[in-house]
Subunit: 149 residues, 2 copies
């Protein structure tokens, strides 16, 4: 799905989409686009969420990350309750303009994950013991939390 | 959808999924899980793709990234034709185990994107001129390609 609004024009030719300099984000059949969030200070991937056109519009207008919660089916200002707001410094788009990479500075306690971890990716698959699975997880190389004051 | 295979057991309680040390990846209604790929050398996000259970199984068994191509509806060994294979060094999973972060070393010409760019995220939204859109893109801070010899 492409919104085709004045803000987000419909995708043109493949050459325009991949090589052009007009932002034409492509939303899927549910009106959503994947958004990867990385930490502007460390480059670390913090989280993954979805945006609809309204969430993206608000993110662009406020420079604060908004998402669409698929489970709660509502617009979601990240950090609205926790204070762990994401201040958007850069929004990158992939070759076919159907994925966003939001580079953001973590405010509040410096926590992006609802579990209290800085990054949602705090565990890694333990690749050593077996190539057949089931696989164990181990703590990933995620940096420890900063002091919360 | 959860495959519930011996390799990828079905998701248990939320506490187990978020805090446990067993890999229980959750596949969506189409049997897919999002996979973010980052560069093990730079931490840069290189690309975004989807895996089904078979692609994930092959990735774990071979330590070489396999994906499911939604457009071609087939299993896809990344770099099979181009030689730009992704050697997997780490597979991280997010809090609810429904997104993967694949940390990989780029082989071949050091190019992850089919356009010839190292990263698919070679453009960023120009946030300066207008908060209302449409928005222009600009080259992102992506590092230039290494010499291809």
């Amino acid at each position: 799905m492409t919104t085709g609004s004045a803000i987000f024009p419909p995708q043109a030719s493949r050459a325009e989409v991949e090589g052009g300099m007009l932002f034409m984000p492509k939303f899927d059949a549910e009106g959503l686009i994947p958004a990867i969030v990385s930490d502007s200070e460390t480059g670390q991937v913090l989280m993954f969420a979805w945006m609809n056109a309204v969430a993206l519009e608000r993110t662009l207008a406020t420079r604060t990350a908004h998402f669409w919660s698929r489970s709660r089916r509502k617009l979601w200002l990240k950090g609205e309750e926790s204070g762990n707001v994401l201040h958007v410094e850069d929004i990158r788009v992939d070759c076919d303009q159907d994925v966003l990479l939001v580079v953001a500075r973590l405010a509040g306690a410096g926590v992006a994950c609802h579990t209290g971890a800085r990054s949602c990716f705090y565990r890694a698959v333990d690749l050593q013991p077996s190539a057949e699975g089931p696989f164990a997880l181990k703590p990933s190389g995620t940096k420890p939390l900063p002091p919360t004051s």
